[in-house]
Protein backbone atom coordinates (compact mmCIF):
# COMPACT_ATOMS: atom_id res chain seq x y z
CA UNK A 1 0.00 0.00 0.00
CA UNK A 2 3.00 2.31 -0.02
CA UNK A 3 2.37 5.16 -2.42
CA UNK A 4 5.79 5.61 -3.90
CA UNK A 5 4.90 5.25 -7.56
CA UNK A 6 3.56 8.13 -9.58
CA UNK A 7 0.19 7.15 -10.98
CA UNK A 8 -2.55 9.07 -12.73
CA UNK A 9 -5.22 10.40 -10.43
CA UNK A 10 -8.40 8.41 -10.05
CA UNK A 11 -11.00 11.09 -9.33
CA UNK A 12 -11.00 13.44 -12.29
CA UNK A 13 -8.67 11.13 -14.20
CA UNK A 14 -9.55 8.71 -16.95
CA UNK A 15 -10.53 5.10 -16.56
CA UNK A 16 -7.00 3.79 -17.13
CA UNK A 17 -6.15 5.03 -13.64
CA UNK A 18 -8.39 2.25 -12.30
CA UNK A 19 -5.82 -0.30 -13.39
CA UNK A 20 -3.24 1.51 -11.30
CA UNK A 21 -5.58 1.48 -8.32
CA UNK A 22 -6.38 -2.20 -8.63
CA UNK A 23 -2.69 -3.05 -8.88
CA UNK A 24 -1.91 -1.07 -5.78
CA UNK A 25 -4.81 -2.52 -3.80
CA UNK A 26 -4.04 -6.05 -5.06
CA UNK A 27 -7.76 -6.43 -5.62
CA UNK A 28 -9.98 -7.79 -8.34
CA UNK A 29 -11.90 -5.55 -10.74
CA UNK A 30 -15.53 -5.97 -11.74
CA UNK A 31 -17.46 -3.70 -14.08
CA UNK A 32 -21.14 -2.84 -13.95
CA UNK A 33 -22.99 -0.69 -16.42
CA UNK A 34 -25.91 1.69 -16.14
CA UNK A 35 -27.26 3.88 -18.95
CA UNK A 36 -25.41 6.95 -17.66
CA UNK A 37 -22.15 5.54 -16.39
CA UNK A 38 -20.04 2.50 -15.68
CA UNK A 39 -18.96 1.32 -12.23
CA UNK A 40 -15.52 -0.23 -11.85
CA UNK A 41 -15.39 -2.04 -8.53
CA UNK A 42 -12.13 -3.10 -6.90
CA UNK A 43 -12.49 -5.46 -3.95
CA UNK A 44 -9.67 -6.84 -1.87
CA UNK A 45 -9.85 -10.24 -0.23
CA UNK A 46 -10.00 -8.56 3.20
CA UNK A 47 -13.12 -6.63 2.27
CA UNK A 48 -11.89 -3.16 1.28
CA UNK A 49 -14.09 -2.04 -1.62
CA UNK A 50 -13.48 0.89 -3.94
CA UNK A 51 -15.93 1.89 -6.64
CA UNK A 52 -14.97 4.26 -9.42
CA UNK A 53 -17.76 5.80 -11.46
CA UNK A 54 -16.84 6.44 -15.07
CA UNK A 55 -18.95 8.66 -17.36
CA UNK A 56 -19.50 7.88 -21.03
CA UNK A 57 -16.74 10.40 -21.75
CA UNK A 58 -14.27 8.19 -19.87
CA UNK A 59 -13.91 10.58 -16.92
CA UNK A 60 -13.88 9.19 -13.37
CA UNK A 61 -16.46 11.58 -11.88
CA UNK A 62 -16.89 9.82 -8.53
CA UNK A 63 -15.20 7.35 -6.19
CA UNK A 64 -16.70 5.59 -3.16
CA UNK A 65 -15.08 3.33 -0.60
CA UNK A 66 -16.01 1.06 2.30
CA UNK A 67 -14.40 -1.63 4.40
CA UNK A 68 -12.25 -2.47 7.45
CA UNK A 69 -9.49 -0.06 6.37
CA UNK A 70 -9.50 3.14 4.35
CA UNK A 71 -7.98 2.96 0.88
CA UNK A 72 -5.01 5.16 0.04
CA UNK A 73 -6.85 8.47 -0.35
CA UNK A 74 -3.95 10.46 -1.86
CA UNK A 75 -3.98 7.94 -4.70
CA UNK A 76 -7.76 7.70 -5.00
CA UNK A 77 -8.47 11.44 -4.83
CA UNK A 78 -5.48 12.49 -6.89
CA UNK A 79 -5.19 16.25 -7.32
CA UNK A 80 -8.26 16.69 -5.12
CA UNK A 81 -6.54 15.22 -2.07
CA UNK A 82 -4.88 18.54 -1.20
CA UNK A 83 -8.27 20.20 -0.64
CA UNK A 84 -9.41 17.23 1.44
CA UNK A 85 -6.29 17.41 3.57
CA UNK A 86 -6.67 21.16 4.02
CA UNK A 87 -10.28 20.68 5.18
CA UNK A 88 -9.15 17.99 7.65
CA UNK A 89 -6.57 20.28 9.18
CA UNK A 90 -9.09 23.13 9.39
CA UNK A 91 -11.64 21.12 11.38
CA UNK A 92 -12.28 23.03 14.58
CA UNK A 93 -12.29 21.80 17.19
CA UNK A 94 -10.30 18.80 16.04
CA UNK A 95 -11.47 15.53 17.50
CA UNK A 96 -11.03 11.82 17.40
CA UNK A 97 -14.43 11.06 15.98
CA UNK A 98 -15.11 13.65 13.35
CA UNK A 99 -16.54 12.70 10.03
CA UNK A 100 -15.68 15.14 7.31
CA UNK A 101 -17.92 16.69 4.71
CA UNK A 102 -16.33 19.10 2.27
CA UNK A 103 -18.85 20.63 -0.13
CA UNK A 104 -17.51 22.95 -2.82
CA UNK A 105 -19.31 23.83 -6.07
CA UNK A 106 -17.08 21.49 -8.05
CA UNK A 107 -16.03 18.96 -5.42
CA UNK A 108 -17.84 17.04 -2.65
CA UNK A 109 -15.92 14.75 -0.29
CA UNK A 110 -17.47 12.78 2.57
CA UNK A 111 -15.32 10.61 4.80
CA UNK A 112 -16.15 8.88 8.06
CA UNK A 113 -16.89 5.62 9.77
CA UNK A 114 -15.20 3.76 12.56
CA UNK A 115 -13.09 0.66 13.24
CA UNK A 116 -14.21 -2.26 11.07
CA UNK A 117 -16.38 0.00 8.88
CA UNK A 118 -14.88 3.03 7.19
CA UNK A 119 -16.74 4.62 4.33
CA UNK A 120 -16.70 7.67 2.20
CA UNK A 121 -17.09 9.08 -1.25
CA UNK A 122 -15.95 11.95 -3.42
CA UNK A 123 -17.51 13.32 -6.58
CA UNK A 124 -17.35 16.14 -9.05
CA UNK A 125 -20.89 17.63 -9.14
CA UNK A 126 -20.26 19.47 -12.43
CA UNK A 127 -19.38 16.21 -14.15
CA UNK A 128 -22.32 14.18 -12.87
CA UNK A 129 -23.90 12.57 -15.97
CA UNK A 130 -27.42 13.74 -16.78
CA UNK A 131 -29.92 11.46 -15.08
CA UNK A 132 -27.43 10.19 -12.47
CA UNK A 133 -28.24 10.84 -8.80
CA UNK A 134 -25.76 11.38 -5.98
CA UNK A 135 -27.72 8.63 -4.17
CA UNK A 136 -26.27 6.20 -6.74
CA UNK A 137 -22.73 7.05 -5.71
CA UNK A 138 -22.28 4.57 -2.88
Amino acid sequence: MLCVRTVSAALGGNSTSIIADSLEMQGSVHAYSSPQFEIQEITTESGVRVREFVGRDGLVFAVAWSGPAEPNLPQLLGVHFALYHQARLAQAPPGLHRALRLALPDLVIESGGHMRAYRGRAYLPMHLPAGASTADLQ
Binding site: E70, L73, R88, H97, A99, R116
Partner: protein, 412 residues
Protein backbone atom coordinates in the same frame (compact mmCIF):
# COMPACT_ATOMS: atom_id res chain seq x y z
CA UNK B 1 -8.78 23.10 36.49
CA UNK B 2 -7.13 22.38 39.84
CA UNK B 3 -10.48 22.24 41.64
CA UNK B 4 -11.95 19.96 39.01
CA UNK B 5 -9.01 17.59 39.28
CA UNK B 6 -9.35 17.31 43.05
CA UNK B 7 -13.05 16.60 42.68
CA UNK B 8 -12.31 13.84 40.21
CA UNK B 9 -9.95 12.17 42.67
CA UNK B 10 -12.50 12.47 45.44
CA UNK B 11 -15.27 10.94 43.37
CA UNK B 12 -13.01 8.03 42.56
CA UNK B 13 -12.00 7.26 46.12
CA UNK B 14 -15.54 7.38 47.56
CA UNK B 15 -16.77 4.25 45.76
CA UNK B 16 -13.62 2.46 46.86
CA UNK B 17 -14.51 3.18 50.50
CA UNK B 18 -18.05 1.97 49.90
CA UNK B 19 -16.67 -1.22 48.41
CA UNK B 20 -14.69 -1.91 51.53
CA UNK B 21 -17.81 -1.42 53.67
CA UNK B 22 -20.00 -3.63 51.50
CA UNK B 23 -17.35 -6.30 51.38
CA UNK B 24 -17.15 -6.48 55.17
CA UNK B 25 -20.92 -6.62 55.57
CA UNK B 26 -21.27 -9.43 53.10
CA UNK B 27 -18.52 -11.40 54.73
CA UNK B 28 -20.24 -11.11 58.10
CA UNK B 29 -23.80 -11.94 57.07
CA UNK B 30 -23.43 -14.35 54.15
CA UNK B 31 -20.02 -16.03 54.27
CA UNK B 32 -20.93 -18.66 51.67
CA UNK B 33 -21.96 -16.23 48.90
CA UNK B 34 -19.23 -14.47 46.86
CA UNK B 35 -19.14 -10.73 47.48
CA UNK B 36 -20.40 -8.79 44.48
CA UNK B 37 -17.56 -6.89 42.89
CA UNK B 38 -17.95 -3.12 42.90
CA UNK B 39 -18.96 -2.59 39.30
CA UNK B 40 -19.80 1.10 39.03
CA UNK B 41 -17.52 4.07 38.56
CA UNK B 42 -17.84 7.77 37.85
CA UNK B 43 -18.14 9.30 34.40
CA UNK B 44 -17.45 13.03 34.11
CA UNK B 45 -18.12 15.42 31.25
CA UNK B 46 -15.79 18.38 31.73
CA UNK B 47 -13.52 20.66 29.76
CA UNK B 48 -10.74 18.08 29.42
CA UNK B 49 -7.19 17.47 30.66
CA UNK B 50 -5.03 20.49 31.53
CA UNK B 51 -3.12 20.18 28.25
CA UNK B 52 -6.32 20.28 26.18
CA UNK B 53 -9.05 22.28 27.88
CA UNK B 54 -12.11 23.57 26.07
CA UNK B 55 -13.53 20.18 25.12
CA UNK B 56 -17.26 19.87 24.41
CA UNK B 57 -19.27 16.70 25.07
CA UNK B 58 -16.30 14.55 26.05
CA UNK B 59 -17.16 11.94 28.69
CA UNK B 60 -14.15 10.92 30.75
CA UNK B 61 -13.27 8.15 33.17
CA UNK B 62 -10.24 7.40 35.34
CA UNK B 63 -8.50 4.09 34.65
CA UNK B 64 -5.97 2.33 36.86
CA UNK B 65 -3.06 1.05 34.77
CA UNK B 66 -0.46 -1.36 36.18
CA UNK B 67 2.58 -3.11 34.73
CA UNK B 68 1.51 -6.72 34.18
CA UNK B 69 1.47 -8.62 37.47
CA UNK B 70 2.52 -5.64 39.57
CA UNK B 71 0.55 -4.28 42.54
CA UNK B 72 2.80 -1.26 42.89
CA UNK B 73 3.86 -0.10 39.42
CA UNK B 74 0.45 1.47 38.90
CA UNK B 75 -1.06 4.84 38.11
CA UNK B 76 -4.51 6.32 37.88
CA UNK B 77 -4.85 7.92 34.42
CA UNK B 78 -7.59 10.53 34.46
CA UNK B 79 -9.44 12.06 31.50
CA UNK B 80 -9.60 8.90 29.42
CA UNK B 81 -12.30 9.39 26.80
CA UNK B 82 -15.22 6.96 27.11
CA UNK B 83 -15.90 5.68 23.60
CA UNK B 84 -18.74 3.33 22.64
CA UNK B 85 -17.69 3.68 18.98
CA UNK B 86 -14.32 1.92 19.25
CA UNK B 87 -12.83 -1.14 20.90
CA UNK B 88 -9.84 -1.27 23.19
CA UNK B 89 -7.81 1.03 25.43
CA UNK B 90 -5.31 3.51 23.98
CA UNK B 91 -3.15 5.70 26.21
CA UNK B 92 -0.90 8.62 25.31
CA UNK B 93 2.73 7.57 25.82
CA UNK B 94 3.94 10.80 27.43
CA UNK B 95 1.10 10.62 29.97
CA UNK B 96 2.12 7.09 30.97
CA UNK B 97 5.75 8.21 31.26
CA UNK B 98 4.81 11.22 33.40
CA UNK B 99 3.00 8.81 35.72
CA UNK B 100 6.01 6.52 35.95
CA UNK B 101 4.47 3.69 33.95
CA UNK B 102 6.65 1.86 31.41
CA UNK B 103 4.90 -0.85 29.40
CA UNK B 104 6.85 -3.16 27.10
CA UNK B 105 5.80 -3.53 23.48
CA UNK B 106 4.50 -6.90 22.38
CA UNK B 107 6.59 -8.86 19.89
CA UNK B 108 5.60 -11.03 16.96
CA UNK B 109 7.11 -14.41 15.99
CA UNK B 110 9.98 -12.62 14.18
CA UNK B 111 10.74 -10.69 17.38
CA UNK B 112 9.56 -7.45 15.80
CA UNK B 113 7.52 -5.04 17.92
CA UNK B 114 3.80 -5.09 17.14
CA UNK B 115 2.58 -1.59 16.36
CA UNK B 116 -0.76 -0.31 15.20
CA UNK B 117 -2.15 2.40 12.94
CA UNK B 118 -5.81 3.01 13.73
CA UNK B 119 -8.05 5.28 11.73
CA UNK B 120 -10.52 7.34 13.71
CA UNK B 121 -12.91 9.79 12.10
CA UNK B 122 -10.55 12.68 12.67
CA UNK B 123 -7.19 11.09 11.93
CA UNK B 124 -4.93 8.16 12.61
CA UNK B 125 -3.13 7.01 15.75
CA UNK B 126 0.23 5.26 15.82
CA UNK B 127 2.16 3.33 18.44
CA UNK B 128 3.08 -0.06 19.92
CA UNK B 129 0.78 -2.65 21.45
CA UNK B 130 1.72 -3.52 25.03
CA UNK B 131 0.20 -5.56 27.83
CA UNK B 132 -1.15 -3.92 30.99
CA UNK B 133 -3.33 -4.82 33.95
CA UNK B 134 -6.38 -2.55 33.89
CA UNK B 135 -8.63 -1.86 36.87
CA UNK B 136 -11.90 0.06 36.93
CA UNK B 137 -14.04 0.24 40.08
CA UNK B 138 -13.54 -3.22 41.64
CA UNK B 139 -13.03 -4.99 38.31
CA UNK B 140 -9.62 -6.17 37.08
CA UNK B 141 -8.55 -7.24 33.58
CA UNK B 142 -5.08 -8.80 33.56
CA UNK B 143 -2.69 -8.72 30.60
CA UNK B 144 -4.82 -6.54 28.34
CA UNK B 145 -3.29 -5.60 24.96
CA UNK B 146 -3.46 -1.79 24.87
CA UNK B 147 -2.10 0.69 22.36
CA UNK B 148 0.44 3.28 23.46
CA UNK B 149 0.06 6.46 21.41
CA UNK B 150 3.66 7.28 20.60
CA UNK B 151 3.46 11.07 20.91
CA UNK B 152 7.13 11.38 21.87
CA UNK B 153 8.35 9.32 18.87
CA UNK B 154 10.05 6.87 21.21
CA UNK B 155 9.52 3.90 18.93
CA UNK B 156 9.47 3.12 15.23
CA UNK B 157 8.26 5.97 13.01
CA UNK B 158 4.86 5.40 11.38
CA UNK B 159 4.93 3.86 7.92
CA UNK B 160 4.09 6.11 5.00
CA UNK B 161 0.46 4.96 4.89
CA UNK B 162 -0.18 5.91 8.52
CA UNK B 163 -1.41 9.48 8.61
CA UNK B 164 -1.30 9.74 4.82
CA UNK B 165 -5.09 10.00 4.63
CA UNK B 166 -5.33 12.98 6.95
CA UNK B 167 -3.48 13.75 10.12
CA UNK B 168 -1.70 11.75 12.78
CA UNK B 169 -3.36 12.17 16.18
CA UNK B 170 -1.14 10.91 18.97
CA UNK B 171 -0.99 13.57 21.65
CA UNK B 172 -3.23 14.88 24.41
CA UNK B 173 -4.24 17.98 22.50
CA UNK B 174 -5.16 15.96 19.41
CA UNK B 175 -7.15 13.45 21.42
CA UNK B 176 -8.65 16.01 23.79
CA UNK B 177 -7.91 13.28 26.33
CA UNK B 178 -5.11 11.28 27.99
CA UNK B 179 -6.35 8.20 26.19
CA UNK B 180 -9.46 6.57 24.86
CA UNK B 181 -11.36 3.63 26.38
CA UNK B 182 -13.18 1.79 23.59
CA UNK B 183 -16.06 -0.09 25.19
CA UNK B 184 -18.23 -0.72 22.13
CA UNK B 185 -19.92 -3.93 21.05
CA UNK B 186 -16.79 -5.92 20.14
CA UNK B 187 -13.95 -7.45 22.13
CA UNK B 188 -11.11 -6.78 19.64
CA UNK B 189 -10.53 -3.66 17.58
CA UNK B 190 -9.97 -5.19 14.16
CA UNK B 191 -11.23 -8.74 14.59
CA UNK B 192 -11.11 -11.48 11.97
CA UNK B 193 -10.11 -9.13 9.13
CA UNK B 194 -6.63 -8.74 10.69
CA UNK B 195 -6.04 -12.42 11.53
CA UNK B 196 -5.44 -14.26 8.26
CA UNK B 197 -5.58 -11.87 5.30
CA UNK B 198 -3.38 -12.89 2.36
CA UNK B 199 -2.48 -9.19 2.06
CA UNK B 200 -2.55 -7.90 5.64
CA UNK B 201 -4.57 -4.72 6.18
CA UNK B 202 -2.45 -1.63 6.95
CA UNK B 203 -3.59 -1.70 10.60
CA UNK B 204 -1.17 -3.94 12.52
CA UNK B 205 2.54 -3.76 11.69
CA UNK B 206 5.67 -5.61 12.65
CA UNK B 207 8.55 -3.19 13.18
CA UNK B 208 12.15 -4.38 12.99
CA UNK B 209 15.25 -3.00 14.61
CA UNK B 210 15.88 -0.57 11.75
CA UNK B 211 12.48 1.00 12.34
CA UNK B 212 11.00 -0.44 9.16
CA UNK B 213 7.39 -1.50 9.66
CA UNK B 214 5.49 -4.00 7.53
CA UNK B 215 1.76 -4.72 7.70
CA UNK B 216 1.09 -8.09 9.30
CA UNK B 217 -1.69 -10.26 10.66
CA UNK B 218 -2.20 -10.52 14.41
CA UNK B 219 -4.12 -13.22 16.31
CA UNK B 220 -7.31 -12.13 18.07
CA UNK B 221 -5.76 -12.65 21.52
CA UNK B 222 -2.93 -10.23 20.69
CA UNK B 223 -5.13 -7.50 19.21
CA UNK B 224 -5.95 -4.40 21.24
CA UNK B 225 -8.88 -5.54 23.36
CA UNK B 226 -11.85 -3.96 25.10
CA UNK B 227 -10.82 -4.40 28.80
CA UNK B 228 -14.43 -5.03 29.85
CA UNK B 229 -14.41 -8.25 27.81
CA UNK B 230 -11.41 -9.42 29.89
CA UNK B 231 -12.90 -8.83 33.36
CA UNK B 232 -13.24 -12.05 35.38
CA UNK B 233 -16.97 -11.33 35.73
CA UNK B 234 -19.34 -8.56 34.57
CA UNK B 235 -17.71 -8.94 31.17
CA UNK B 236 -20.72 -9.01 28.82
CA UNK B 237 -21.24 -5.29 28.41
CA UNK B 238 -21.71 -1.95 30.12
CA UNK B 239 -24.46 0.45 31.14
CA UNK B 240 -23.87 4.19 30.77
CA UNK B 241 -26.15 6.42 32.79
CA UNK B 242 -25.86 10.19 32.38
CA UNK B 243 -28.33 12.91 33.38
CA UNK B 244 -29.46 15.73 31.11
CA UNK B 245 -27.54 19.01 31.29
CA UNK B 246 -29.57 21.45 33.38
CA UNK B 247 -28.93 24.44 31.12
CA UNK B 248 -30.00 24.17 27.47
CA UNK B 249 -26.93 26.25 26.57
CA UNK B 250 -24.49 24.03 28.41
CA UNK B 251 -23.35 22.93 31.87
CA UNK B 252 -19.78 23.44 33.11
CA UNK B 253 -19.61 19.79 34.18
CA UNK B 254 -21.94 16.83 34.23
CA UNK B 255 -21.45 13.64 36.20
CA UNK B 256 -22.91 10.19 35.79
CA UNK B 257 -21.73 6.63 35.98
CA UNK B 258 -20.80 3.52 34.08
CA UNK B 259 -21.80 0.08 35.35
CA UNK B 260 -19.97 -3.07 34.24
CA UNK B 261 -21.90 -6.19 33.30
CA UNK B 262 -25.50 -6.58 32.15
CA UNK B 263 -27.86 -8.76 34.21
CA UNK B 264 -24.92 -10.15 36.20
CA UNK B 265 -25.59 -8.38 39.49
CA UNK B 266 -28.51 -6.78 41.33
CA UNK B 267 -27.50 -3.32 40.09
CA UNK B 268 -27.28 -4.02 36.35
CA UNK B 269 -30.56 -5.74 35.43
CA UNK B 270 -32.23 -5.04 32.12
CA UNK B 271 -35.57 -3.25 32.64
CA UNK B 272 -38.61 -5.48 32.18
CA UNK B 273 -40.58 -2.87 30.24
CA UNK B 274 -39.84 0.07 27.98
CA UNK B 275 -36.52 -1.23 26.68
CA UNK B 276 -35.53 -0.80 23.03
CA UNK B 277 -32.88 -3.36 22.10
CA UNK B 278 -31.25 -2.91 18.70
CA UNK B 279 -29.12 -5.78 17.42
CA UNK B 280 -25.91 -4.70 15.69
CA UNK B 281 -24.34 -6.28 12.61
CA UNK B 282 -20.76 -7.36 11.93
CA UNK B 283 -19.78 -3.68 11.64
CA UNK B 284 -21.29 -2.87 15.05
CA UNK B 285 -24.12 -0.98 13.38
CA UNK B 286 -27.91 -0.93 13.13
CA UNK B 287 -29.73 1.30 10.66
CA UNK B 288 -31.51 4.63 10.85
CA UNK B 289 -33.78 6.57 8.53
CA UNK B 290 -33.71 10.30 9.06
CA UNK B 291 -36.74 12.61 9.18
CA UNK B 292 -39.06 10.43 7.13
CA UNK B 293 -36.47 9.64 4.47
CA UNK B 294 -36.34 6.29 2.72
CA UNK B 295 -32.59 5.64 2.89
CA UNK B 296 -31.56 3.23 5.65
CA UNK B 297 -28.24 4.62 6.88
CA UNK B 298 -25.70 2.63 8.89
CA UNK B 299 -26.00 3.93 12.46
CA UNK B 300 -24.47 3.52 15.90
CA UNK B 301 -24.43 5.01 19.39
CA UNK B 302 -21.03 6.70 19.70
CA UNK B 303 -20.21 8.46 22.96
CA UNK B 304 -16.99 9.87 21.48
CA UNK B 305 -18.81 11.75 18.72
CA UNK B 306 -19.67 15.11 20.21
CA UNK B 307 -22.89 15.66 18.29
CA UNK B 308 -25.75 14.14 16.36
CA UNK B 309 -23.77 13.55 13.17
CA UNK B 310 -25.83 13.29 9.99
CA UNK B 311 -26.34 15.17 6.77
CA UNK B 312 -29.25 17.51 6.10
CA UNK B 313 -28.49 20.15 3.46
CA UNK B 314 -31.64 22.06 4.51
CA UNK B 315 -30.20 23.00 7.93
CA UNK B 316 -27.88 26.02 8.01
CA UNK B 317 -24.27 25.31 8.94
CA UNK B 318 -22.31 27.57 11.30
CA UNK B 319 -19.84 29.64 9.30
CA UNK B 320 -18.24 31.59 12.17
CA UNK B 321 -17.34 31.13 15.82
CA UNK B 322 -16.07 28.00 17.52
CA UNK B 323 -18.46 25.61 15.78
CA UNK B 324 -17.74 25.98 12.08
CA UNK B 325 -19.27 23.03 10.26
CA UNK B 326 -21.83 22.21 12.97
CA UNK B 327 -25.50 23.00 12.50
CA UNK B 328 -26.73 26.51 13.23
CA UNK B 329 -30.49 26.21 12.54
CA UNK B 330 -32.23 29.51 11.76
CA UNK B 331 -35.13 28.54 14.02
CA UNK B 332 -33.37 27.15 17.07
CA UNK B 333 -33.89 24.56 18.44
CA UNK B 334 -35.13 22.66 15.41
CA UNK B 335 -37.08 19.47 16.12
CA UNK B 336 -36.15 16.36 14.12
CA UNK B 337 -36.61 12.62 14.30
CA UNK B 338 -35.05 9.40 13.08
CA UNK B 339 -36.21 5.81 13.13
CA UNK B 340 -33.72 3.17 14.34
CA UNK B 341 -34.08 -0.42 13.16
CA UNK B 342 -32.16 -3.32 14.69
CA UNK B 343 -29.97 -5.41 12.39
CA UNK B 344 -30.98 -8.78 10.97
CA UNK B 345 -33.74 -10.85 12.52
CA UNK B 346 -33.96 -8.50 15.51
CA UNK B 347 -35.68 -5.81 13.45
CA UNK B 348 -36.69 -3.76 16.50
CA UNK B 349 -38.00 -0.32 15.48
CA UNK B 350 -37.61 2.81 17.59
CA UNK B 351 -38.53 6.38 16.70
CA UNK B 352 -36.30 8.94 18.40
CA UNK B 353 -37.21 12.62 18.64
CA UNK B 354 -34.28 14.97 18.94
CA UNK B 355 -33.31 18.57 18.24
CA UNK B 356 -30.38 20.57 17.01
CA UNK B 357 -29.74 24.11 18.24
CA UNK B 358 -27.36 26.97 17.49
CA UNK B 359 -24.29 26.14 19.63
CA UNK B 360 -22.97 29.69 19.59
CA UNK B 361 -25.26 30.51 22.54
CA UNK B 362 -22.99 28.21 24.60
CA UNK B 363 -22.43 29.34 28.18
CA UNK B 364 -18.80 30.42 28.59
CA UNK B 365 -16.82 27.53 30.07
CA UNK B 366 -19.56 24.97 29.48
CA UNK B 367 -18.60 21.47 28.37
CA UNK B 368 -21.87 19.48 28.32
CA UNK B 369 -24.14 20.68 25.54
CA UNK B 370 -27.36 19.04 24.43
CA UNK B 371 -28.78 19.53 20.92
CA UNK B 372 -25.40 19.80 19.20
CA UNK B 373 -25.61 18.67 15.57
CA UNK B 374 -22.84 18.29 13.06
CA UNK B 375 -22.44 17.33 9.45
CA UNK B 376 -21.60 13.66 9.48
CA UNK B 377 -21.76 13.09 5.75
CA UNK B 378 -24.65 11.47 3.94
CA UNK B 379 -23.37 7.89 4.26
CA UNK B 380 -24.12 7.28 7.96
CA UNK B 381 -26.08 8.44 11.01
CA UNK B 382 -24.25 8.74 14.33
CA UNK B 383 -26.02 9.19 17.66
CA UNK B 384 -23.27 11.05 19.50
CA UNK B 385 -23.02 12.31 23.08
CA UNK B 386 -26.24 14.37 23.07
CA UNK B 387 -28.14 11.08 22.69
CA UNK B 388 -26.52 9.78 25.92
CA UNK B 389 -27.78 12.68 28.04
CA UNK B 390 -30.85 11.70 30.06
CA UNK B 391 -30.69 8.05 29.04
CA UNK B 392 -29.57 4.75 30.48
CA UNK B 393 -27.76 2.99 27.62
CA UNK B 394 -26.81 -0.70 27.46
CA UNK B 395 -23.95 -1.89 25.23
CA UNK B 396 -23.91 -5.68 24.79
CA UNK B 397 -20.61 -7.24 23.65
CA UNK B 398 -20.48 -9.63 20.67
CA UNK B 399 -21.16 -13.28 21.57
CA UNK B 400 -21.65 -12.47 25.27
CA UNK B 401 -25.03 -13.15 26.88
CA UNK B 402 -26.99 -11.91 29.86
CA UNK B 403 -30.61 -11.39 30.79
CA UNK B 404 -31.79 -13.42 27.80
CA UNK B 405 -29.94 -11.37 25.17
CA UNK B 406 -26.70 -11.91 23.27
CA UNK B 407 -24.50 -9.16 21.83
CA UNK B 408 -23.69 -7.30 19.75
CA UNK B 409 -26.48 -4.90 20.65
CA UNK B 410 -27.33 -1.40 21.83
CA UNK B 411 -30.32 -0.89 24.14
CA UNK B 412 -31.96 2.13 25.76
Amino acid sequence: MQIRFKFALLSFSAPALLAACFGNNNAATAPSAPSPVLNTMAVMVDSGPAAATGQINHAYVTVKVCSPGSQTLCAYIDHVLLDTGSWGLRLVGSVLAANGIALNAEHDAQNQTIEECVTFGGGQTWGPVALADISMAGEVAAGVPVQIMDDSAAGAPPPATCGANGTLINDVSGFGANGVLGIGVFAQDCGAACVAAATPLPIYFGCGGAGVCTAENVALAAQVTNPIAMFAADNNGVIINLPNPQNANGDATLSGEITFGIATQADNALPLTGLTLLAADANGEFSATYNGGTTALPALLDSATDSYAFDDPSIAVCTAGDFIGYYCPVVSPQSLFAVNTGAGANGAVSTVQFAVADPNALVVGASALMNLGGGGGSTSFTWGMPFFYGRKIFIGIDQRSGGGFTGPYYAY
